[in-house]
Subunit: 108 residues, 2 copies
């Protein structure tokens, strides 16, 4: 019996280690997406205020080109927001799994 408990403990520890590694990876993915979202909203703000010229390089920018760029950026923003909410859901599930395994380790 003792060796079965010891095996369970060793197995739970290695599961917990793997879950913690996944959790850290997810955290850095969330950070990368948040910084891309930040860049897209900066571009959207500059473009929506612009008229006639590109607010960054100063070259002429007609209304059609400007609207095309704004549409592309809005689509990118929606895509990034959808990715972000999926990752946050994954993180929550992972957190619950980690708490479960920790409670198994503490109980044993």
């Amino acid at each position: 019996l003792l060796s079965a408990l010891q095996q369970l403990e060793a197995k739970s520890k290695s599961v917990l280690e793997k879950l913690e590694k996944d959790f850290d990876r997810l955290n850095s993915e969330v950070g990368a997406i948040r910084s891309q979202l930040d860049e897209v909203s900066k571009q959207l703000e500059l473009l929506t205020r612009a008229s006639g010229r590109c607010p960054l390089c100063g070259r002429p920018l007609d209304a059609e080109h400007r609207m095309k760029l704004i549409k592309q950026l809005r689509a990118k923003k929606l895509e990034l927001e959808a990715k972000l909410s999926k990752l946050i859901e994954k993180k929550e599930r992972l957190k619950k799994d980690m708490e479960f395994v920790k409670s198994v380790l503490e109980g044993s």
Copy 2:
């Protein structure tokens, strides 16, 4: 004597009103400069990350043109920061004047 006090009180009230109007005008100037600073730092962030193309309109942007734009924006940022600190100093002085006049009014 009473009419002299009443005159002082009326004069202090009109001075206070003028100071309060100036204070409000200064506040909106500070807000306008802060939003210009915000726009300049967005442009600087997008340009410093860019390479080869304008990060906003997508057209080719050579290193020389990029460096010229970055230099212009940095100069603009310094100018706005100098303006902002002058305005904040003015606001502080005005606040002290208002408190003095208020203490005169309360004392009479």
